[in-house]
Protein backbone atom coordinates (compact mmCIF):
# COMPACT_ATOMS: atom_id res chain seq x y z
CA UNK A 1 0.00 0.00 0.00
CA UNK A 2 1.26 3.48 -0.84
CA UNK A 3 1.44 5.78 2.17
CA UNK A 4 -1.66 7.91 2.60
CA UNK A 5 -1.10 11.57 1.85
CA UNK A 6 -0.77 14.12 4.65
CA UNK A 7 -4.19 15.66 3.88
CA UNK A 8 -5.87 12.42 4.96
CA UNK A 9 -4.73 12.98 8.54
CA UNK A 10 -6.45 16.34 8.70
CA UNK A 11 -9.61 15.27 6.91
CA UNK A 12 -12.93 15.26 8.68
CA UNK A 13 -14.71 12.06 9.65
CA UNK A 14 -17.34 12.75 6.99
CA UNK A 15 -14.68 13.17 4.28
CA UNK A 16 -12.83 10.03 5.34
CA UNK A 17 -16.01 7.99 5.31
CA UNK A 18 -16.88 9.25 1.83
CA UNK A 19 -13.43 8.19 0.61
CA UNK A 20 -13.86 4.77 2.24
CA UNK A 21 -17.16 4.28 0.48
CA UNK A 22 -15.51 5.37 -2.81
CA UNK A 23 -12.75 2.79 -2.12
CA UNK A 24 -9.99 5.42 -2.29
CA UNK A 25 -8.49 3.34 0.53
CA UNK A 26 -9.68 0.60 2.84
CA UNK A 27 -10.61 0.86 6.50
CA UNK A 28 -7.64 -1.35 7.33
CA UNK A 29 -5.29 1.00 5.48
CA UNK A 30 -6.80 3.96 7.26
CA UNK A 31 -6.64 2.34 10.72
CA UNK A 32 -3.04 1.27 10.12
CA UNK A 33 -2.04 4.78 8.99
CA UNK A 34 -3.68 6.55 11.93
CA UNK A 35 -2.52 3.88 14.37
CA UNK A 36 1.10 4.21 13.27
CA UNK A 37 0.90 7.99 13.33
CA UNK A 38 -0.63 7.98 16.81
CA UNK A 39 2.09 5.65 18.08
CA UNK A 40 4.84 7.69 16.44
CA UNK A 41 3.68 11.22 17.18
CA UNK A 42 1.40 10.77 20.20
CA UNK A 43 4.31 10.62 22.67
CA UNK A 44 5.69 13.84 21.18
CA UNK A 45 2.70 15.60 22.78
CA UNK A 46 2.30 13.24 25.74
CA UNK A 47 -1.07 12.52 24.17
CA UNK A 48 -1.03 8.74 23.94
CA UNK A 49 -2.11 6.61 26.90
CA UNK A 50 -2.46 3.30 25.07
CA UNK A 51 -2.31 2.27 21.43
CA UNK A 52 -5.10 -0.09 20.34
CA UNK A 53 -3.74 -0.57 16.82
CA UNK A 54 -4.10 -4.34 16.64
CA UNK A 55 -7.67 -4.22 17.95
CA UNK A 56 -8.38 -1.39 15.49
CA UNK A 57 -7.09 -3.43 12.56
CA UNK A 58 -9.47 -6.25 13.45
CA UNK A 59 -12.40 -3.80 13.69
CA UNK A 60 -11.37 -2.20 10.40
CA UNK A 61 -11.18 -5.58 8.70
CA UNK A 62 -14.81 -6.20 9.68
CA UNK A 63 -15.76 -2.78 8.30
CA UNK A 64 -14.08 -3.54 4.98
CA UNK A 65 -16.05 -6.76 4.68
CA UNK A 66 -19.27 -4.84 5.37
CA UNK A 67 -18.45 -2.15 2.84
CA UNK A 68 -17.69 -4.80 0.23
CA UNK A 69 -21.18 -6.18 0.82
CA UNK A 70 -22.60 -2.70 0.45
CA UNK A 71 -23.64 -2.41 4.08
CA UNK A 72 -23.20 1.17 5.23
CA UNK A 73 -23.71 2.40 8.76
CA UNK A 74 -23.31 6.15 8.44
CA UNK A 75 -20.55 8.74 8.42
CA UNK A 76 -18.45 7.25 11.22
CA UNK A 77 -18.14 3.80 9.66
CA UNK A 78 -14.53 2.84 9.23
CA UNK A 79 -13.26 6.14 10.60
CA UNK A 80 -10.61 5.93 13.35
CA UNK A 81 -11.05 7.73 16.67
CA UNK A 82 -9.56 7.93 20.14
CA UNK A 83 -11.00 8.15 23.65
CA UNK A 84 -9.92 9.89 26.82
CA UNK A 85 -8.45 7.33 29.17
CA UNK A 86 -11.31 7.65 31.64
CA UNK A 87 -13.52 5.55 29.37
CA UNK A 88 -13.41 1.80 29.83
CA UNK A 89 -12.31 -0.43 26.97
CA UNK A 90 -12.87 -4.08 27.80
CA UNK A 91 -9.76 -6.00 28.73
CA UNK A 92 -7.38 -3.07 28.33
CA UNK A 93 -5.93 -0.73 30.96
CA UNK A 94 -8.06 2.27 31.89
CA UNK A 95 -5.80 4.43 34.04
CA UNK A 96 -7.86 7.57 34.66
CA UNK A 97 -4.53 9.32 34.09
CA UNK A 98 -3.37 8.45 37.58
CA UNK A 99 -0.61 6.15 38.89
CA UNK A 100 -2.84 4.35 41.44
CA UNK A 101 -4.99 3.06 38.59
CA UNK A 102 -2.24 2.26 36.10
CA UNK A 103 -3.14 -1.44 36.08
CA UNK A 104 -6.91 -1.08 36.20
CA UNK A 105 -8.83 -3.22 33.70
CA UNK A 106 -12.58 -3.49 33.17
CA UNK A 107 -14.48 -6.26 31.47
CA UNK A 108 -16.93 -4.08 29.52
CA UNK A 109 -16.65 -1.19 27.15
CA UNK A 110 -18.02 2.16 28.24
CA UNK A 111 -21.48 2.80 26.79
CA UNK A 112 -20.14 5.43 24.38
CA UNK A 113 -17.44 3.07 23.07
CA UNK A 114 -20.06 0.39 22.53
CA UNK A 115 -22.36 2.82 20.72
CA UNK A 116 -19.60 4.02 18.41
CA UNK A 117 -18.67 0.41 17.72
CA UNK A 118 -22.21 -0.19 16.50
CA UNK A 119 -21.69 2.60 13.97
CA UNK A 120 -18.56 0.89 12.67
CA UNK A 121 -16.21 3.45 14.21
CA UNK A 122 -12.66 2.18 14.70
CA UNK A 123 -11.01 2.86 18.06
CA UNK A 124 -7.26 3.36 17.56
CA UNK A 125 -6.12 4.50 20.98
CA UNK A 126 -6.71 5.79 24.47
CA UNK A 127 -5.63 9.35 25.05
CA UNK A 128 -3.89 11.02 27.95
CA UNK A 129 -5.68 13.14 30.52
CA UNK A 130 -5.06 15.09 33.68
CA UNK A 131 -5.10 12.72 36.66
CA UNK A 132 -8.65 11.95 37.80
CA UNK A 133 -9.91 14.64 35.38
CA UNK A 134 -8.41 17.25 37.66
CA UNK A 135 -10.47 16.36 40.73
CA UNK A 136 -9.20 18.24 43.78
CA UNK A 137 -7.63 20.90 41.58
CA UNK A 138 -4.02 20.90 40.39
CA UNK A 139 -1.19 23.35 40.08
CA UNK A 140 0.78 22.16 37.08
CA UNK A 141 0.02 20.78 33.62
CA UNK A 142 2.26 17.83 34.53
CA UNK A 143 -0.54 16.44 36.74
CA UNK A 144 -0.89 13.40 34.48
CA UNK A 145 0.41 9.86 34.15
CA UNK A 146 1.95 10.75 30.77
CA UNK A 147 3.31 14.13 31.83
CA UNK A 148 2.10 17.55 30.73
CA UNK A 149 -0.11 17.52 27.64
CA UNK A 150 1.88 19.46 25.03
CA UNK A 151 0.19 21.72 22.50
CA UNK A 152 0.73 20.76 18.84
CA UNK A 153 0.91 24.45 17.91
CA UNK A 154 3.77 25.05 20.32
CA UNK A 155 5.15 22.34 22.54
CA UNK A 156 6.21 24.85 25.17
CA UNK A 157 2.48 25.46 25.73
CA UNK A 158 -0.12 23.32 27.47
CA UNK A 159 -2.75 21.41 25.50
CA UNK A 160 -5.31 22.30 28.18
CA UNK A 161 -7.10 19.98 30.54
CA UNK A 162 -8.36 17.68 31.47
CA UNK A 163 -9.03 16.15 28.01
CA UNK A 164 -5.47 17.06 26.97
CA UNK A 165 -4.66 14.06 24.79
CA UNK A 166 -8.03 14.12 23.03
CA UNK A 167 -7.59 17.71 21.86
CA UNK A 168 -3.90 17.37 21.03
CA UNK A 169 -4.51 14.19 19.03
CA UNK A 170 -7.16 15.86 16.87
CA UNK A 171 -5.11 19.04 16.41
CA UNK A 172 -2.02 17.07 15.34
CA UNK A 173 -3.95 14.84 12.95
CA UNK A 174 -3.43 11.71 15.04
CA UNK A 175 -7.17 10.97 15.12
CA UNK A 176 -10.00 12.57 13.12
CA UNK A 177 -12.02 12.92 16.31
CA UNK A 178 -11.83 11.91 19.94
CA UNK A 179 -14.06 11.68 22.96
CA UNK A 180 -13.37 13.83 25.99
CA UNK A 181 -15.28 14.63 29.13
CA UNK A 182 -16.21 17.80 30.94
CA UNK A 183 -17.10 18.40 34.56
CA UNK A 184 -16.09 22.06 34.56
CA UNK A 185 -14.23 23.08 31.40
CA UNK A 186 -12.38 19.91 30.41
CA UNK A 187 -13.63 19.92 26.80
CA UNK A 188 -13.92 23.68 26.38
CA UNK A 189 -10.38 24.48 27.54
CA UNK A 190 -8.37 21.97 25.50
CA UNK A 191 -10.53 22.60 22.42
CA UNK A 192 -9.77 26.33 22.66
CA UNK A 193 -6.07 25.89 23.40
CA UNK A 194 -5.49 23.33 20.63
CA UNK A 195 -7.66 24.99 17.97
CA UNK A 196 -10.18 22.20 17.50
CA UNK A 197 -13.97 22.06 17.63
CA UNK A 198 -15.38 20.74 20.90
CA UNK A 199 -18.93 19.97 21.97
CA UNK A 200 -20.04 19.73 25.59
CA UNK A 201 -23.49 18.13 25.46
CA UNK A 202 -26.40 18.90 27.75
CA UNK A 203 -26.10 17.09 31.08
CA UNK A 204 -27.77 13.70 30.83
CA UNK A 205 -27.78 13.46 27.03
CA UNK A 206 -24.83 11.05 26.82
CA UNK A 207 -24.50 7.97 29.02
CA UNK A 208 -21.53 7.95 31.37
CA UNK A 209 -21.66 4.25 32.10
CA UNK A 210 -18.12 3.02 32.10
CA UNK A 211 -16.69 6.50 32.59
CA UNK A 212 -14.72 7.55 35.65
CA UNK A 213 -17.06 9.39 38.00
CA UNK A 214 -15.69 12.68 39.31
CA UNK A 215 -18.88 14.59 40.12
CA UNK A 216 -22.07 12.66 39.43
CA UNK A 217 -24.21 15.75 39.01
CA UNK A 218 -21.82 17.47 36.60
CA UNK A 219 -19.95 14.88 34.48
CA UNK A 220 -20.57 14.90 30.71
CA UNK A 221 -18.95 13.16 27.73
CA UNK A 222 -18.56 14.82 24.34
CA UNK A 223 -16.55 14.95 21.11
CA UNK A 224 -13.56 16.96 19.96
CA UNK A 225 -13.19 17.06 16.18
CA UNK A 226 -12.14 19.21 13.23
CA UNK A 227 -15.67 20.45 12.50
CA UNK A 228 -19.04 21.12 14.08
CA UNK A 229 -20.54 18.73 11.54
CA UNK A 230 -18.36 15.87 12.79
CA UNK A 231 -19.30 16.75 16.38
CA UNK A 232 -22.95 16.42 15.40
CA UNK A 233 -22.47 12.99 13.88
CA UNK A 234 -20.49 11.77 16.88
CA UNK A 235 -23.08 13.13 19.30
CA UNK A 236 -25.86 11.40 17.36
CA UNK A 237 -23.95 8.13 17.75
CA UNK A 238 -23.23 8.40 21.48
CA UNK A 239 -26.36 10.16 22.79
CA UNK A 240 -29.49 8.50 24.10
CA UNK A 241 -31.07 7.26 27.29
CA UNK A 242 -29.39 4.65 29.46
CA UNK A 243 -31.01 3.06 32.50
CA UNK A 244 -27.55 2.23 33.84
CA UNK A 245 -26.67 5.92 34.15
CA UNK A 246 -28.79 7.50 36.92
CA UNK A 247 -28.10 10.93 35.40
CA UNK A 248 -29.44 9.98 31.98
CA UNK A 249 -32.12 12.31 30.67
CA UNK A 250 -33.57 9.44 28.66
CA UNK A 251 -33.60 11.52 25.51
CA UNK A 252 -32.29 10.71 22.03
CA UNK A 253 -30.44 13.14 19.82
CA UNK A 254 -31.05 13.32 16.09
CA UNK A 255 -28.50 15.37 14.23
CA UNK A 256 -30.75 17.57 12.12
CA UNK A 257 -29.42 21.13 12.00
CA UNK A 258 -31.50 21.75 8.89
CA UNK A 259 -34.58 21.71 11.08
CA UNK A 260 -33.16 24.07 13.72
CA UNK A 261 -34.39 27.66 13.69
CA UNK A 262 -33.08 29.93 10.97
CA UNK A 263 -30.01 31.89 12.03
CA UNK A 264 -31.73 35.17 11.16
CA UNK A 265 -34.35 34.34 13.81
CA UNK A 266 -31.78 33.76 16.55
CA UNK A 267 -30.78 36.21 19.26
CA UNK A 268 -27.17 35.89 20.33
CA UNK A 269 -26.15 37.39 23.66
CA UNK A 270 -22.73 38.93 24.02
CA UNK A 271 -21.00 40.91 26.77
CA UNK A 272 -18.62 43.52 25.32
CA UNK A 273 -16.53 43.42 28.51
CA UNK A 274 -15.53 39.85 27.68
CA UNK A 275 -13.46 41.11 24.79
CA UNK A 276 -12.60 44.65 25.80
CA UNK A 277 -11.75 43.96 29.47
CA UNK A 278 -11.28 40.29 30.24
CA UNK A 279 -9.67 38.81 27.12
CA UNK A 280 -5.91 39.13 26.77
CA UNK A 281 -5.13 42.12 24.56
CA UNK A 282 -3.62 40.16 21.64
CA UNK A 283 -6.84 38.13 21.33
CA UNK A 284 -9.25 41.04 21.11
CA UNK A 285 -9.16 41.75 17.38
CA UNK A 286 -9.73 38.08 16.60
CA UNK A 287 -12.68 37.88 19.01
CA UNK A 288 -14.24 41.09 17.66
CA UNK A 289 -14.04 39.61 14.17
CA UNK A 290 -15.77 36.44 15.37
CA UNK A 291 -18.66 38.38 16.88
CA UNK A 292 -18.96 40.39 13.68
CA UNK A 293 -19.08 37.18 11.65
CA UNK A 294 -22.09 35.97 13.65
CA UNK A 295 -23.74 39.35 13.14
CA UNK A 296 -23.18 39.08 9.39
CA UNK A 297 -24.68 35.61 9.42
CA UNK A 298 -27.95 37.34 10.25
CA UNK A 299 -28.35 36.74 13.97
CA UNK A 300 -29.52 39.57 16.19
CA UNK A 301 -26.82 40.51 18.70
CA UNK A 302 -28.02 41.60 22.15
CA UNK A 303 -25.92 42.72 25.09
CA UNK A 304 -26.30 40.72 28.32
CA UNK A 305 -24.28 39.64 31.32
CA UNK A 306 -24.27 36.76 33.76
CA UNK A 307 -26.30 37.10 36.93
CA UNK A 308 -24.21 37.67 40.05
CA UNK A 309 -23.30 34.40 41.78
CA UNK A 310 -20.07 32.95 43.21
CA UNK A 311 -19.98 30.35 40.41
CA UNK A 312 -16.49 29.11 41.05
CA UNK A 313 -17.09 28.63 44.77
CA UNK A 314 -20.32 26.73 44.14
CA UNK A 315 -18.71 24.49 41.52
CA UNK A 316 -15.62 23.88 43.66
CA UNK A 317 -17.78 22.88 46.62
CA UNK A 318 -19.92 20.49 44.59
CA UNK A 319 -17.07 18.91 42.64
CA UNK A 320 -14.93 18.80 45.77
CA UNK A 321 -17.55 17.00 47.84
CA UNK A 322 -18.70 14.60 45.12
CA UNK A 323 -15.13 13.92 44.05
CA UNK A 324 -14.05 13.25 47.61
CA UNK A 325 -16.93 10.81 48.05
CA UNK A 326 -16.07 9.15 44.74
CA UNK A 327 -12.37 8.82 45.60
CA UNK A 328 -12.66 8.38 49.38
CA UNK A 329 -10.90 5.02 49.31
CA UNK A 330 -7.98 6.42 47.37
CA UNK A 331 -7.77 9.56 49.49
CA UNK A 332 -7.59 7.53 52.71
CA UNK A 333 -4.88 5.26 51.31
CA UNK A 334 -1.14 5.75 50.87
CA UNK A 335 -1.67 5.55 47.10
CA UNK A 336 -2.93 9.14 47.05
CA UNK A 337 0.66 10.25 47.53
CA UNK A 338 1.64 8.82 44.14
CA UNK A 339 -0.36 11.46 42.28
CA UNK A 340 2.17 13.73 40.56
CA UNK A 341 0.69 17.05 41.70
CA UNK A 342 0.92 17.98 45.40
CA UNK A 343 -1.82 20.58 45.11
CA UNK A 344 -4.14 17.90 43.78
CA UNK A 345 -3.27 15.53 46.62
CA UNK A 346 -4.07 18.16 49.23
CA UNK A 347 -7.16 19.33 47.34
CA UNK A 348 -8.58 15.81 47.28
CA UNK A 349 -7.84 15.35 50.99
CA UNK A 350 -9.48 18.66 51.81
CA UNK A 351 -12.57 17.54 49.92
CA UNK A 352 -13.24 14.96 52.62
CA UNK A 353 -13.58 17.80 55.09
CA UNK A 354 -16.35 19.61 53.20
CA UNK A 355 -19.35 19.57 55.50
CA UNK A 356 -22.73 18.26 54.44
CA UNK A 357 -24.18 21.68 55.23
CA UNK A 358 -21.73 23.41 52.86
CA UNK A 359 -22.38 20.92 50.08
CA UNK A 360 -26.12 21.29 50.44
CA UNK A 361 -25.88 25.05 50.58
CA UNK A 362 -23.90 24.92 47.35
CA UNK A 363 -26.60 22.74 45.81
CA UNK A 364 -29.25 25.21 46.96
CA UNK A 365 -27.29 28.04 45.38
CA UNK A 366 -27.02 25.90 42.27
CA UNK A 367 -30.79 25.73 42.08
CA UNK A 368 -30.87 29.53 42.01
CA UNK A 369 -28.14 29.56 39.36
CA UNK A 370 -30.17 27.19 37.20
CA UNK A 371 -33.22 29.43 37.53
CA UNK A 372 -31.19 32.56 36.79
CA UNK A 373 -29.57 30.95 33.74
CA UNK A 374 -33.03 29.95 32.55
CA UNK A 375 -34.16 33.57 32.84
CA UNK A 376 -31.03 34.74 31.00
CA UNK A 377 -31.58 32.23 28.21
CA UNK A 378 -35.10 33.57 27.77
CA UNK A 379 -33.45 36.78 26.51
CA UNK A 380 -31.14 35.07 24.03
CA UNK A 381 -31.10 31.74 22.25
CA UNK A 382 -27.33 31.49 22.43
CA UNK A 383 -24.61 33.16 24.49
CA UNK A 384 -21.38 33.97 22.64
CA UNK A 385 -18.18 34.43 24.60
CA UNK A 386 -14.47 33.64 24.43
CA UNK A 387 -13.95 29.98 25.25
CA UNK A 388 -10.83 31.03 27.17
CA UNK A 389 -9.56 34.48 27.99
CA UNK A 390 -5.91 33.73 27.28
CA UNK A 391 -4.16 31.60 24.70
CA UNK A 392 -2.61 28.33 25.89
CA UNK A 393 -0.54 28.82 29.02
CA UNK A 394 3.13 27.91 29.23
CA UNK A 395 3.54 24.29 30.10
CA UNK A 396 5.44 24.95 33.34
CA UNK A 397 3.22 27.81 34.47
CA UNK A 398 1.33 27.48 37.75
CA UNK A 399 -2.37 27.11 36.93
CA UNK A 400 -3.87 28.02 40.29
CA UNK A 401 -2.56 31.54 40.64
CA UNK A 402 -5.86 33.24 39.88
CA UNK A 403 -8.79 34.18 42.04
CA UNK A 404 -10.09 31.29 44.09
CA UNK A 405 -13.77 31.90 44.64
CA UNK A 406 -14.69 33.53 41.34
CA UNK A 407 -16.33 36.46 43.04
CA UNK A 408 -15.83 40.15 42.68
CA UNK A 409 -15.17 40.10 38.93
CA UNK A 410 -16.17 43.47 37.54
CA UNK A 411 -17.65 43.92 35.05
CA UNK A 412 -19.07 40.41 35.13
CA UNK A 413 -19.74 39.93 31.44
CA UNK A 414 -19.72 36.20 30.68
CA UNK A 415 -16.34 35.70 32.34
CA UNK A 416 -17.62 32.71 34.37
CA UNK A 417 -19.89 31.29 31.66
CA UNK A 418 -18.09 27.95 31.41
CA UNK A 419 -18.67 27.30 35.09
CA UNK A 420 -22.20 28.72 35.05
CA UNK A 421 -23.07 26.59 32.01
CA UNK A 422 -21.70 23.47 33.66
CA UNK A 423 -23.64 24.12 36.86
CA UNK A 424 -26.82 24.56 34.82
CA UNK A 425 -26.06 21.55 32.60
CA UNK A 426 -26.17 23.60 29.39
CA UNK A 427 -24.51 22.57 26.10
CA UNK A 428 -21.60 24.49 24.61
CA UNK A 429 -19.76 24.41 21.30
CA UNK A 430 -16.20 25.72 20.91
CA UNK A 431 -15.06 26.89 17.47
CA UNK A 432 -11.55 27.88 16.40
CA UNK A 433 -11.83 31.57 15.45
CA UNK A 434 -8.29 32.72 14.75
CA UNK A 435 -4.83 33.05 16.19
CA UNK A 436 -3.07 35.35 18.62
CA UNK A 437 0.67 35.18 19.21
CA UNK A 438 0.70 32.16 16.90
CA UNK A 439 -1.66 30.19 19.13
CA UNK A 440 -5.32 29.27 18.55
CA UNK A 441 -8.20 31.32 19.89
CA UNK A 442 -11.60 29.72 20.47
CA UNK A 443 -15.06 31.26 20.60
CA UNK A 444 -17.76 29.49 22.61
CA UNK A 445 -21.50 29.19 21.99
CA UNK A 446 -23.65 28.21 24.97
CA UNK A 447 -27.26 27.22 24.37
CA UNK A 448 -30.39 26.14 26.16
CA UNK A 449 -30.64 22.58 27.39
CA UNK A 450 -30.94 20.12 24.49
CA UNK A 451 -30.40 22.85 21.88
CA UNK A 452 -27.36 21.13 20.33
CA UNK A 453 -28.81 21.33 16.82
CA UNK A 454 -29.02 25.11 17.10
CA UNK A 455 -25.41 25.34 18.26
CA UNK A 456 -24.25 22.96 15.55
CA UNK A 457 -26.15 24.84 12.85
CA UNK A 458 -24.44 28.06 13.89
CA UNK A 459 -21.09 26.29 14.08
CA UNK A 460 -21.44 24.70 10.65
CA UNK A 461 -22.39 28.00 9.04
CA UNK A 462 -19.50 29.77 10.81
CA UNK A 463 -17.09 27.11 9.57
CA UNK A 464 -18.51 27.35 6.04
CA UNK A 465 -17.62 31.03 6.03
CA UNK A 466 -14.32 30.86 7.88
CA UNK A 467 -11.47 28.40 7.54
CA UNK A 468 -9.74 28.58 10.91
CA UNK A 469 -10.76 25.00 11.61
CA UNK A 470 -8.78 23.93 8.52
CA UNK A 471 -5.49 25.38 9.77
CA UNK A 472 -3.05 22.75 10.90
CA UNK A 473 0.10 22.92 12.98
CA UNK A 474 3.54 21.93 11.68
CA UNK A 475 3.65 18.46 13.18
Amino acid sequence: MAPLSEDVFFSTAVELNQRLVRRDFTAVELARAFGERLEKLGPRYNALALSLREQALRQAHDVDRELKRGRTRGPLQGVPYGVKDLLAVAGRPTTWGAPPYAGQVFSEDAAVVRRLGKQGAVLVGKLAMVSLAGGGGYRYAAASLQGAGLNPWDRTRWAGGSSSGSAAAVAAGLAPYALGSETNGSIVTPAAYCGVTGLRPTYGLVSRRGAMPLAWTMDKIGPLAHTAEDCGHVLAAIAGGDGDDPGSAGRPFHFAPQFARAIRDLRIGIAPADIEVHAAAPMRAVLREAVEQFRQMGATIVELELPDFPYSAVASMIIGAEGAASFAGLIRSAAIETLPDRRQVEGLKAGLRITAADYLQAMRARRLIQQAMGALMAKADVLLAPARYTVATKVDEALDGGRAAGTGIAPRGFRMLTTAGNLAGLPALVLPCGFAEGLPVGIGLTGRAFSENTLLKLGMEYQRLTKYHRRKPAV
Binding site: R209, F327, R364, G406
Partner: protein, 68 residues
Protein backbone atom coordinates in the same frame (compact mmCIF):
# COMPACT_ATOMS: atom_id res chain seq x y z
CA UNK B 1 -7.50 -3.14 40.39
CA UNK B 2 -7.00 -5.61 37.60
CA UNK B 3 -10.02 -7.79 38.25
CA UNK B 4 -12.48 -7.49 35.39
CA UNK B 5 -16.09 -6.90 36.31
CA UNK B 6 -19.41 -5.64 34.99
CA UNK B 7 -19.45 -1.93 35.31
CA UNK B 8 -22.04 0.65 36.17
CA UNK B 9 -21.41 4.06 37.65
CA UNK B 10 -22.41 2.64 41.02
CA UNK B 11 -19.94 -0.20 40.79
CA UNK B 12 -17.29 2.22 39.63
CA UNK B 13 -17.90 4.33 42.69
CA UNK B 14 -17.63 1.30 44.95
CA UNK B 15 -14.52 0.25 43.10
CA UNK B 16 -12.83 3.51 43.91
CA UNK B 17 -12.88 2.58 47.55
CA UNK B 18 -10.92 -0.63 47.11
CA UNK B 19 -7.54 -1.92 46.18
CA UNK B 20 -5.40 1.19 46.09
CA UNK B 21 -3.69 0.89 49.47
CA UNK B 22 -0.13 -0.25 49.82
CA UNK B 23 1.47 1.84 47.07
CA UNK B 24 4.59 3.50 48.37
CA UNK B 25 4.41 7.24 48.79
CA UNK B 26 7.10 9.30 47.07
CA UNK B 27 9.40 11.43 49.14
CA UNK B 28 8.09 14.96 49.72
CA UNK B 29 9.37 18.22 50.98
CA UNK B 30 7.56 18.75 54.25
CA UNK B 31 7.29 22.57 54.19
CA UNK B 32 5.96 22.55 50.63
CA UNK B 33 3.40 19.86 51.44
CA UNK B 34 2.29 21.81 54.50
CA UNK B 35 1.88 24.96 52.39
CA UNK B 36 -0.27 23.05 49.89
CA UNK B 37 -2.36 21.63 52.71
CA UNK B 38 -2.92 25.05 54.24
CA UNK B 39 -3.78 26.49 50.84
CA UNK B 40 -6.34 23.76 50.18
CA UNK B 41 -7.89 24.36 53.60
CA UNK B 42 -7.99 28.11 52.99
CA UNK B 43 -9.76 27.55 49.67
CA UNK B 44 -12.44 25.53 51.46
CA UNK B 45 -13.01 28.39 53.89
CA UNK B 46 -13.13 30.99 51.10
CA UNK B 47 -15.59 28.94 49.10
CA UNK B 48 -17.78 28.30 52.13
CA UNK B 49 -17.85 32.00 52.99
CA UNK B 50 -18.68 32.94 49.39
CA UNK B 51 -21.59 30.49 49.28
CA UNK B 52 -22.95 31.61 52.65
CA UNK B 53 -23.29 35.11 51.22
CA UNK B 54 -25.75 33.93 48.55
CA UNK B 55 -29.25 35.04 49.49
CA UNK B 56 -31.03 31.68 49.30
CA UNK B 57 -34.81 31.89 49.91
CA UNK B 58 -35.94 29.66 52.77
CA UNK B 59 -37.95 27.37 50.50
CA UNK B 60 -35.11 26.63 48.06
CA UNK B 61 -34.36 22.92 47.95
CA UNK B 62 -30.98 21.59 46.83
CA UNK B 63 -30.68 20.58 43.18
CA UNK B 64 -31.04 16.89 44.04
CA UNK B 65 -33.16 15.94 41.07
CA UNK B 66 -30.88 17.70 38.70
CA UNK B 67 -32.21 18.05 35.20
CA UNK B 68 -30.73 20.48 32.72
Amino acid sequence: MSEARRMTRRTLAALLGAGTAGVAAPAQTQPAAEADRLEAEAALVRNSEAIQKVDVPWDTEPAFRFQA
